[in-house]
């Protein structure tokens, strides 16, 4: 009984030391690849999640939340006019994480004061993209991308691609 207890305690100590060691190792690795979190841009800001834990190898739902600055709007994923640049979310192929699917919000009708006849389909304020992500086992600091083109009522800004930093842990 006493021997069993001692073995149990020893195992627990080894496990805790291994855990703390792996945390240190992970941190050393991360030092070379800074985690770009809470990235702010002037037109669109990524809000959350910063970190998700998913079952490795399985397509899992992750909802990504964004905020558009007041008085600005961006085109929806499916703008009505072909000449407008759609909002598109993507994940780089070499990140250890794959984007299996992305469902974008429908968007809302918006009319520029100078052209009341044309209805645009836009996002404004907060919006969310519902994704399905497949992660390989391990900790992946994914630098996903959101491409958008923002305007206000009278002017537009050039298209922009922002980094969407997500710490994806596949278990």
């Amino acid at each position: 009984m006493d021997l069993a207890r001692i073995r149990l305690i020893c195992a627990a100590i080894c496990a805790s030391l291994a855990l703390s060691g792996s945390a240190s190792c992970a941190q050393d690795g991360l030092m070379e690849k800074p985690h770009k979190s809470l990235l702010r841009t002037e037109a669109v800001e990524y809000l959350y999640p910063e970190q998700v834990t998913l079952p490795a190898g399985k397509s899992s739902p992750v909802t990504l939340h964004f905020r558009i600055q007041p008085n600005l709007h961006i085109n929806s994923h499916t703008p009505r006019e072909q000449y407008l640049i759609p909002t598109v979310f993507s994940i780089p192929e070499s990140s250890g994480v794959r984007l299996a699917d992305a469902t974008y919000p429908a968007g809302a009708d918006f009319t520029l004061p100078a052209d009341p006849n044309e209805k645009l389909l836009v996002y404004s304020g907060d919006f969310a993209i519902e994704t399905k992500i497949v992660a390989t086992p391990g900790d992946h600091l994914v630098e996903a991308k959101l491409r958008y083109q923002a305007c206000d009522q009278n002017a537009c800004m050039p298209p922009k691609t922002i980094t969407v930093p997500i710490d994806v842990i596949g278990k």
Binding site: I9, A12, H35, P159
Partner: protein, 213 residues
């Protein structure tokens, strides 16, 4: 009793180690997030509202319009100097810009109205896509989209491409459309960001015509 004390002590040690590992991990991630935020929060010019003139653009006013040589859709080189002596509206626009599309019919009408007085509009497509000079496919796609827009909108005034190469000279060009009004002497008399109304544009044009007379 002594054995129990040892067990409790070791258990506390384990718990403390776990707590330390968790805290260290959380602290590291917090610091990494702060570093990333600091790296990302670089200065970037953004218009507050259309019509406001950014500090860079406002520096143009009262100074000679920066010279340029760009290609038109046929590939011919066109320089600002080739319009010497004419009051001008240099209109930076983009194919993806809804307000630019609204403004274009006004520009056509204004060209027709003030053209007989020597006034000339120069449209410069500024797509903001940072194409490299050797990106043939990119440029071909760009030119096709511009040509389509020009044809659909029936733009009769000269249209040049690659306005992005003038970002440094013309104050950032981070707002489309940007209209630069130039008098006969080549001096910038007004800069307008975004659209307002045809009447506002006409007033600026009349100022450009009157200024260099």
């Amino acid at each position: 009793m002594k054995r129990n004390t040892i067990v409790i002590g070791i258990t506390l040690l384990i718990l403390a180690t776990f707590a330390w590992a968790g805290w260290a991990n959380w602290e590291y991630r917090k610091q990494a997030a702060e570093r990333a935020l600091a790296a990302a929060s670089h200065a970037e010019l953004v218009p507050a509202t259309a019509g406001d003139v950014s500090a860079e653009a406002s520096r143009l006013t009262g100074n000679p319009a920066p010279d340029f040589t760009l290609q038109d859709l046929s590939g011919a080189s066109v320089s600002l100097t080739s319009f010497k002596g004419k009051p001008l509206l240099i209109n930076f626009w983009a194919t993806w810009c809804g307000p630019c599309k609204i403004e274009t019919p006004w520009l056509i009408e204004l060209q027709n109205e003030y053209g007989p007085k020597g006034f000339q509009i120069i449209g410069i497509s500024t797509e903001g896509n940072d194409l490299k000079p050797d990106d043939k496919d990119g440029w071909a796609h760009d030119k096709a989209a511009i040509a389509k827009f020009v044809k659909e909108q029936r733009m009769q005034y000269p249209v040049l491409i690659n306005g992005d190469s003038l970002v440094g000279k013309y104050g950032g060009l981070d707002v489309m459309p940007t209209s630069v009004y130039v008098d006969r002497n080549g001096k910038v008399v007004a800069v307008q960001l975004g659209i307002s109304s045809k009447e506002d544009m006409a007033a600026h044009i009349e100022k450009a015509i009157a200024s260099g007379s």
